[in-house]
Symmetry: C2
Amino acid sequence: MSWLEQVKWNENGLTPVITQEYKTKQVLTLAWMNKEALQLTAETGHAVYWSRSRKKLWHKGEQSGNQQLIKSIRLDCDNDAILLEVEQKGGIACHTGRHHCFYKQLVNNQWQPTEAILKDPKEIYK
Amino acid sequence: MSWLEQVKWNENGLTPVITQEYKTKQVLTLAWMNKEALQLTAETGHAVYWSRSRKKLWHKGEQSGNQQLIKSIRLDCDNDAILLEVEQKGGIACHTGRHHCFYKQLVNNQWQPTEAILKDPKEIYK
């Protein structure tokens, strides 16, 4: 069985992908891949996801320039989740212009933003 | 809207949860929560997941003793993924007896195990 077939793709042909910054170990994003996205990620050396909202392959950084260069690709014990280590170009992984997507922390039963916006999204996607 | 309602639960009432070790920043597991699991996690201070295979709440460590003590709970930009920072009791997060679940790395088109088994699963779940 090929390495791509060993991944347990879900009923929609997808698997969740955690992307972690190589240098800081910060978790940047949770995104999704299908088989083609994972193959392209391995072949090209930059992260390619499946956009569930746009229903198409999404070469991370294609619009923003904020590519994610692959340092390692890992699979978990159950073969149904992937972990990438990447170098985050431009220092911005989140479409809100923040370094990473997990910027809301639960404090006193409220999700409170804890991270600064580094760049106005209007400037990223123009 | 309550903080629990602000999470976008999927069609099965679940959301993926990344769990990262507070001290080492290592990503330990990808698991799933429903609303009740997230509420219990916040209330009790240890990770409670939803087991998709057993279809029931899963107080992590209930059998193994390897509890995960909560340091922070974060939500992503799209409100559909959660990141926990935890203290991993016993130093073992994976049911295979390894420190973490992402122990298979893609090398030369093969998933190669890269982490030692710290404890025989038969000794963990007896």
